[in-house]
């Protein structure tokens, strides 16, 4: 083969391999793009199925379907990947042939060049070189100067202590960011919002800042005032006792008997209704949004519904919570001027009673494998928060008008799902909590721990009860104990027979009532701890009993309210059904019962 033939062959080979390589490269790019686009775990269908499974975790057929689909997309992925690999080898082959052909071609074509005798070329090259270097220098330093002009030095704008919240103890469940508005007692800056009386779901509302308005000093409401309302979890002070009268004992939710009104709820939640005056408040939340709703408790009209959003430091991704706890398990609290809500995101929000946002905080996402469920409590301008999480125990009080921290106490206990209660002993109000391992009392004004007894264990769900100078605490697989709530506190008696998992006990007039999750409702003597009677309802009891009007109201999960005489007889008065599942604790006001069903809110009355 002579040089001409070699040259021709190299040229043809170069052309063919070049085109071949280009085509393969283009196909590879397309394939690669597809591969990127259809990543198995990014499959929308798969995601939808997984979401379905989250709603229905025991659906074996769905699981099988997901496995099958998952296998399919993985197979498709690997097939596509094999195609990319094969294509890459083909491309490699093409490039090698092309490069070799090009090399042979250029070597054959190569001729020793003739030096350029033109001095002008030399001089021009030198001229161009210095000119370009000059330009390069000017451009480079010009760019540096431009960067200097257009770069903001944020460090200079920082004032020491400006972001002290960042320095607060690390951990997911710690306080992160605070956005507090100007908030002295007599000066309140609130945002004006148009009140939504239409009850539209998830509507975005325009907000504008209203100039500061002077207000008269607020009256601090106490226990006597709270008794007129139903302002917190399990009623006033969280003790499970309501002081309203003429509460109905019969209704039929399905038939509408004694149902004064019923409204559909826009968001799920396990929190219970709270009431102040004519207004009833509920919270709800799902992956899409968290809301606080206010109803006219007489008519059931939705007065306002606000989204809990735009909260600094609030997580963009919702924490993992279980379906039986959800994102909105804690019950809200009302202090007569503001209503407060907390969510599993760690967001705490305060609205005034007209739905204007007053302040927000994020306490950090609580590390809680079920979801945060400790309800709020209010006392003397303080919002009490039990924040016992996987990272340790913590109690805090926020100023109800500003959201600022009043006190913040770390505790040596583990995570807890119970809620605080307020008790008054020797003229002093305590916050009493039930945790693993401590049942403890704190001074509500300072947060100081007054006493504790390490007696509890496990995943503590039930809150405490209080009556006749004794605190009663229990938890499943632990014990039921009575403790004298004072320095040097000790267990006065204990009982292991029946223990509750989620429901909190209630005590009054020498009797203690306790609901087990497996359906047995028990009455104990508060002085001795001896069992007086028991009644097996044969239904799961997660809701807590409420003692009102000389009767005990305890709702089972199926929606049947078991009404019994609050005495030593254990007499069942009635067992009216709501017609849907219910897990919340009923609220009482002026002869009416307000019950949160799974999907609806009911007002029962005569």
């Amino acid at each position: 083969m002579n040089q001409e033939e070699k040259l021709k062959l190299a040229k043809q080979s170069m052309q063919i391999s070049g085109i071949f390589s280009l085509v393969v490269a283009a196909l590879l790019l397309i394939n690669f793009a597809q591969l990127k686009k259809y990543e198995p775990l990014e499959s929308e269908t798969l995601k939808a199925l997984v979401e379905q499974l989250e709603d229905d975790p025991r659906n074996e057929q769905l699981k099988e379907e997901i496995r099958h689909f998952d296998l399919m997309v993985r197979k498709a992925y690997f097939t596509s990947e094999r195609q990319v690999k094969t294509g890459a080898f083909l491309l490699l082959f093409g490039v090698i042939i092309f490069a070799a052909s090009l090399k042979i071609f250029t070597d054959i074509k190569h001729k020793i060049g003739m030096p350029d005798p033109d001095s002008e070329v030399f001089l021009k090259a030198r001229r161009n070189a210095w000119q370009w270097l000059f330009v390069t220098g000017v451009v480079l330093f010009g760019l540096a100067f431009t960067a200097a002009i257009f770069t903001t030095n944020y460090l200079e704008t920082y004032l020491p202590g400006e972001l002290a919240t960042i320095d607060e103890p690390t951990g997911n469940d710690e306080i992160r960011i605070i956005e507090i508005r100007d908030n002295t007692t007599d000066i309140a800056v609130v945002e004006e919002e148009s009140v939504d009386t239409e009850g539209g779901e998830g509507e975005s509302e325009s907000e504008s800042v209203r100039p500061a308005v002077e207000k008269a000093p607020e009256t601090i409401y106490g226990e006597a005032d709270f008794r007129k309302h139903h302002n917190t979890f399990r009623g006033p002070m969280g003790l499970g006792v309501s002081y309203h009268k003429n509460i109905p004992t019969s209704w039929d939710g399905s038939a509408g008997t004694n149902v004064l009104w019923k409204v559909a709820l826009s968001k799920p939640g396990y929190n219970s209704p709270v009431i102040w005056g004519d207004r009833l408040f509920l919270a709800g939340g799902d992956q899409q949004a968290r809301i606080v709703s206010c109803y006219d408790r007489h008519s059931g009209q939705l007065l306002w519904e606000k989204q809990v959003d735009n909260i600094p430091a609030s997580p963009t991704k919702m924490p993992d919570v279980t379906d039986d706890t959800g994102l909105s398990a804690p019950t809200m609290a009302v202090d007569g001027y503001r209503v407060f809500a907390i969510f599993a995101t760690g967001d705490v929000i305060a609205f005034d009673l007209d739905g204007n946002r007053v302040w927000v905080r994020n306490l950090g996402v609580p590390q809680n494998h079920y979801g945060h469920s400790s309800s709020l409590m209010v006392w003397n301008n303080k919002l009490i928060i039990q924040y016992d999480t996987g990272r340790g125990g913590r109690m805090m009080a926020l100023n109800t008008t500003s959201g600022e921290t009043e006190w913040d106490v770390k505790r040596d206990n583990r995570i807890s799902w119970a809620s605080p209660i307020l008790i008054e002993t020797d003229g002093k109000v305590q916050v009493v909590t039930n945790t693993d391992p401590n049942v403890a009392g704190h001074d509500v004004e300072t947060g100081e721990e007054l006493w504790k007894v390490a007696v509890m264990m496990g995943e503590v769900g039930p809150s405490c009860a209080y009556s006749d100078g004794l605190v009663y605490a229990n938890n499943e697989y632990a014990s039921l104990v009575a403790i004298n709530p004072e320095p040097g506190a000790e267990v006065q008696w204990e009982n292991y027979d029946y223990l509750s998992e989620a429901a909190s006990p209630v005590a009054k007039d020498g009797l203690l009532y306790l609901a087990t999750s497996y359906g047995v409702f028990v009455c104990y003597d508060t002085k001795t701890g001896e069992q007086i009677w028991e009644e097996d309802f044969g239904a799961t009891l997660y809701s807590s009993p409420m003692l009102v009007d000389g009767k005990i109201y305890i709702m089972d999960n199926s929606g049947v309210m078991h009404i019994m005489k609050a005495d030593r007889s254990g007499t069942i008065i009635n067992e009216p059904a709501l017609g849907e599942h219910s897990y919340a604790i009923p609220a009482f006001a002026q002869g009416r019962i307000y019950i949160r069903g799974e999907n609806s809110l009911y007002c029962i009355g005569k």
């Binding site: 591969l35 198995p40 775990l41 997984v50 496995r67 998952d70 992925y77 690997f78 990947e81 990319v84 690999k85 890459a88 490699l92 090698i96 490069a99 070799a100 090009l102 042979i104 250029t106 020793i112 060049g113 030096p115 001095s119 030399f122 001089l123 090259a125 030198r126 001229r127 161009n128 070189a129 210095w130 370009w132 270097l133 000059f134 390069t136 220098g137 330093f141 010009g142 540096a144 960067a147 200097a148 770069t151 944020y154 460090l155 704008t157 920082y158 202590g161 400006e162 972001l163 002290a164 919240t165 960042i166 320095d167 690390t170 992160r176 960011i177 609030s314 997580p315 963009t316 996402v365």
Partner: protein
């Protein structure tokens, strides 16, 4: 011979590239539990000290052999095979680390941070090529640098570029070196290593962008020979300085140059200095050059001050590369990111127990270092620019075709073009 070698080496190279690229297509772990236990993450043990010294010995051996092959044997074939050995040993076997190119940063950090101890082997890796360059030219680039070797093997059809383009491009390594020193001195980053385009290929595992960058350099290198060496290599700046003083640099001709001009376009790196023609050396041109040389000589201090001032002014921008400065500004701008659990930098800071005030204070100190360092970096770049411009008005008196001692990689290609027999 070169043609014969190109095919297998190119093939090997492509294979490595392909494997490296395909290694990026990783598959996420299945979500369903299967009982399979993920193995614990393990950290490889550091290389034994004896083996580190062995690497130094290998480097010394390769440098010595390269120098012998270039200066004494004048063997292009030998250089080629030696560079293949380097590519395999320092590149694919030692994964491109340690290498003298990156060691610039270790030395810099050791100079600026008393707490940072540099090992003797790293220091030797940094110094040995410079010492050899000082006496024998850039024989390290010829056969002892894996980065150079991988590029050298893919040169297929080098295109000659205008000298002004080359001169302008040759300024970039100074910028890169200056930034690398500034960043290392301020403990910001080892940018030479971070942006090493070939280490991903050597390790056959790297982010996709890194592989693409390396592949792009190799593709470009088929036509613009050794693009990284000529346009970026910061260590090449130091080698170039050393090599200019070398007394026994490689020569094109083994004896006296007969000015046959056969070698003129033999260098793929355009590193052969062509003797100026008589017409260029005329009195008017010389006088003009002298005037301009003087003028631009006077301007050198202006360049230094201008460069120092401009780069120093940009210290706010440059210092953003430092992780502490970046983090502190990020938290100042977006304090809500404290809750971002996926931001590992923020979470690590929160876990450290350091206060925000401390972080900002430290960041401010670092920024001040950048301001000071900016003066040195800008001044240095201004000086280099000034001298490079001045150099354009120097007419070196030589009648022979000689390699440019600063730019020549001592690869020995030009030697094969010289028809003059070696005198014994």
């Amino acid at each position: 011979m070169i043609k014969q070698l190109h095919k297998p080496t190119l093939f090997l190279l492509m294979i490595f590239m392909f494997v490296a690229m395909s290694a990026q297509q990783r598959f996420p772990k299945p979500e369903f539990e299967s009982g399979y236990e993920q193995p614990d993450t393990t950290t490889p043990e550091p290389r034994a000290a004896a083996l580190e010294f062995f690497d130094v010995l290998v480097l010394l051996g390769v440098l010595s052999l390269a120098t012998f092959l270039v200066i004494k044997r004048r063997s292009r074939r030998g250089i080629l095979w030696l560079s293949i050995f380097t590519l395999i040993y320092f590149g694919f076997y030692r994964n491109g680390c340690i290498c003298p190119v990156g060691s610039v940063q270790n030395v810099t950090l050791a100079l600026f941070d008393p707490a940072y101890k540099i090992s003797i082997t790293v220091l030797l890796f940094f110094l040995l090529p410079l010492v050899f360059a000082l006496f024998y030219g850039r024989t390290f680039c010829a056969a002892a640098c894996p980065l150079g070797a991988i590029q050298d093997l893919v040169i297929i059809k080098p295109v000659a570029v205008s000298s002004w383009v080359r001169k302008t491009i040759s300024f970039i390594p100074h910028v890169y070196l200056g930034l690398a020193v500034l960043f290392a001195a301020t403990k910001t980053d080892f940018i030479i290593c971070r942006y090493d385009p070939f280490v991903g290929i050597f390790r056959m595992d790297a982010p996709y962008t890194m592989i693409v960058l390396g592949g792009a350099f190799l593709l470009l290198g088929m036509f613009f020979a050794r693009p990284y060496c000529r346009g970026f290599c910061p260590y090449g700046v130091l080698l170039s300085w050393m090599s200019r003083f070398s007394r026994k640099h490689m020569t094109i001709t083994p004896s006296e140059c007969i000015s046959c001009k056969l070698c003129e376009d033999s260098c793929p790196f355009d590193a052969i200095e062509v003797p100026p023609t008589e017409k260029v050396r005329t009195g008017s041109t010389v006088r003009k050059f002298l005037r301009q040389y003087t003028l631009f000589g006077i301007l050198v201090p202006v360049w230094i001050v201008l460069g120092g001032w401009a780069v120093s002014k940009s210290h706010v921008f440059l210092s953003k590369a430092h992780p502490d400065v970046y983090l502190s500004e990020l938290l100042i701008k977006h304090p809500e990111l404290k809750a971002d659990e996926e931001n590992l930098d923020i979470q690590a800071f929160l876990e450290s127990g350091k206060s925000m005030d401390q972080l900002v204070e430290e960041a401010s100190l670092i920024r001040m270092k950048f301001k000071k360092g900016g003066w040195f970096l800008g001044g240095y770049l201004g000086l280099v620019l000034g001298i490079m411009i001045m150099n354009q008005f120097i007419l070196r008196k030589h009648d022979d075709y000689v390699p440019h001692k600063g730019d020549c990689f001592s690869c020995g290609r030009c030697m094969n073009y010289c028809p003059v027999d070696k005198k014994y």
